[in-house]
Subunit: 290 residues, 4 copies
């Protein structure tokens, strides 16, 4: 009986970093959560505990902070690329790096004070493998709701089906979107801002016969308008809002009073891929050990 | 040896309710979390399990939903007052009610679509005792940060003190504020909006020598400008942002790169009371069993 | 128009500390979360930012760690008392201290390895005021469930009541208990262990006609058996388990399949007080600013 | 410019279900969280909102509850297989199903009362594709700590390295393990119990030169002893416990007092694969849209 070391990676997760930039009395800030992970020729530490190839996770953390000072952080995609490239180029045994950054939004109050915006997060996940790299950017916890313009009917009815059909319901979700970039010269923030707007506007304006249809329309709108996007993946929980039955109290409830449920929830996941998309390579690299 | 039933209350916590109001094609929504609790002559159920005086918590929940239909919800303070008054007036054994409502913010996208705003919550806690009532409104999770204009020095140094003095630090907090109203005829939303602005503006503009000073200035600004506020209580964690020591890497860190720590955190709690404030009565009624 | 500084306190919250004690090759560990808060003559920092009386929260944190080394931590009540007494005795302006400690359970695997036990937490909250002190100990997140032996009926039915009566239901809760000690010479851990057993056994064995009755029986059992307990307060959410309606599928559900709901939940709070209990003094000192 | 619908799935997430089985006055309970997701020929709903092939997520939920009554739930792997097989066999358009179940532990108090065990969760993720199926079982949040027997040194030092080498440190982690079964006739619970013990014992007893070495030893122990396991994947955060620097207070800290940090944390992920393992097929099927 014999066995081998399988896929593996290691790194430092959730380095919380706030940076401040000053332009006269006007300050700017970035609030980031950075996670790095490395892979490569790491058999020694697994098999014998020989750590001569293990770039310590503490060193990875230090590198994040030092890089933020050595050069302005700039856009999160560029910062992630610099970090990933550094690890792969600086250490022969490290053949791949994955750098994930969450950017947390703040609204300006005055020149040096800010209030926290929504819990929505802008994300990027950069993979560097050898001399190649891929950028997957996105957002998380974009919570949207529409009070009408959503139907759900025509679904099959088996012996376990009790759900009534509806031609008017609340549709609410917390969008997680991740899109894979292709080509070069992308203006990251400009692209992000436009994609986010398309997602929000399509959700809001597209009449919905199913959350799947809404999801697909959102993804398609992005791929149509953004040639730099090879592919977009969306995960959208159906945050159920049930019409409360008020008939025992002699009251009609014409879609006015809803119970917002926690669990269970529907979970709709889908993707839209450009037909001539570049090969994904390692863009979606993960170790699915949840 | 003998003992007695001490203070007690019971109710339904965290009733999640979304209501939709339509004016032509323009919809409005309210997203509320309502908790009710009742007290009174409840010895029987405690001592013998005789429930003839126990207004079921399920009934309390139903009442919340039904009331939202019977009359427009309106301002959360008024809705809480109607609920509390109903329980006390409808059931002889119920001598007091406490109704707490969280209102979750949404931003309008179009006539019928909304995106979730920040995680900040507007709150009210209404106490009804017999024929009297009190309103304590507030907010929670108002997260604010200033990148300068904050100092901390001059504190005593004992053998356990290592903290360096600073004349320039990041100050960040998540404000919980609760203010007790007095008098009558208060315009709840208008008062809330103005108080929230004062809290934000004072945090942002007041030069800070300690978080205590900032807290007090925020509270004082509210009491000065709002005669309808008898008292305000503030709880403000000091969300530490530590300057990362980059000197091992030959880098200076002139308040540019910070580590945002989770725990521990400072916790500053304080209050400002109008000298001629009305008696608080049961306004702050709680059972501190955390 | 004039106003004053009202009740206030400040401190360091959630100092995470693990201590290890070695007896030969057998190690023991304690996993604590310590929060300290101080009050006293603190007008200066609030009004002018003069911090000469402000024992820095960083100093409070250092003191926690140093005290854990200077003398064995021992029982959490004793450790909290030493800390609280230190702050009040060492600083003239500090007239009161509150020290709260959570103790997280671990199970032993071998002489030096441990696995995390349940999420239940043993707690203490010590208040020192001048030369007096009070100890309130307890537990949190003791999650218990009984599959039978629980009824709920005989409650009043008004126009908003739809809940059916039941003579057999699941009863589940997450107990928070806090009991106030009186007298002296209490053996903390021994008392805690016995009280916890009484709470668990009473919940399990007492036939329940209401969660209030169960709560009261649990509290009464503790007060009866423990003369060192002046008073006990209990907060017990009713974690609803609803019988799933399987009749649409032609199936009977004889209390076999349940939906465990998240929200809303009932919340029952009550207390049992010894008739000749010592005066509570500042034992329950809190600033209710939630 | 053209594009296509890419990988997609949908289902009901986090169906909370408690089941009770009676054997005389002795009751048994299972506390499960079940998530189902389906895939197949689902273009219509995405492209046009035609839902004639969409087995409603509400129907999926109903099926979970009904199945729990129609036949005893039994082992979670078998229950998941029955559910997955049902969806794929009952609906022509559904070509694949994934059923994930978390089982939450309870300890028995008496014949019908239970207390919640640790927060550790037993898991299974079953994939059914056409007439094939795969079972990946595991556990999550197995929190373990050793107070000695862990070193970390010999790692490379670059300009960003400041971490001192250590020959004695606390090692703590929250193990997520998932193992893929092969062959047939597996006794699920017996296999789980033995694998869990191996993981715990190896963590506890194996002298550690790196968390990677510990992880690999844990995985290897499982693969060596369990021919029914084709592969095991482990994700183990390094929950840092830092020795508190007490030297400013004139105190030595000989690995006695530690600060348990929240973030950042190391994250070590790895796997051990049997050399003659069966092909994984769709066992690890996921849509990595996190």
């Amino acid at each position: 009986m014999s066995y081998s070391l399988g896929p593996n990676q290691y790194g430092k997760a959730e380095v919380r970093m706030v940076t401040v930039t000053r332009s006269g009395s006007t300050h700017s800030m970035q609030d980031l959560t950075v996670s790095t992970s490395l892979r490569g020729a790491l058999e020694a530490t697994h098999l014998t505990g020989d750590n001569s190839d293990v770039v310590a996770t503490d060193t990875q953390k230090n590198t994040v902070y030092a890089f933020a000072k050595e050069e302005p952080v700039g856009e999160i995609e560029d910062f992630a690329l610099r970090l990933g490239r550094h690890f792969v180029d600086s250490f022969g045994q490290i053949t791949g790096a994955r750098v994930m950054i969450d950017s947390h939004p703040w609204d300006r109050i005055n020149g040096h004070a800010f209030s926290r915006g929504s819990s929505e997060v802008r994300t990027t996940a950069v993979t560097v493998s050898g001399d190649r790299h891929w950028v997957v950017s996105g957002l998380r916890d974009l919570v949207v709701l529409k009070t009408t313009g959503s139907e759900f009917h025509g679904f099959p009815r088996d012996k376990y089906t009790t759900l009534p059909e509806t031609t008017d319901r609340i549709l609410a979700t917390a969008v997680t979107a991740r899109w894979r970039y292709q080509g070069s010269g992308v203006s990251w923030t400009s692209s992000f801002t436009s994609i986010r707007s398309l997602l929000v506007e399509t959700f809001a304006s597209k009449h919905s016969l199913s959350l799947q249809q809404t999801l697909h329309a959102m993804g398609a709108a992005v791929v149509e308008a953004h040639p730099e996007v090879a592919e977009i993946r969306l995960s959208m929980p159906n945050k159920h809002h049930f019409v409360v039955d008020l008939s025992p109290f002699g009251l009609e409830n014409d879609n006015e009073v809803f119970y917002a449920a926690d669990r269970p929830y529907g979970l709709i996941e889908g993707s839209v891929i450009r037909d001539d998309a570049e090969d994904p390579g390692d863009a979606w690299y993960t170790l699915p050990a949840f």
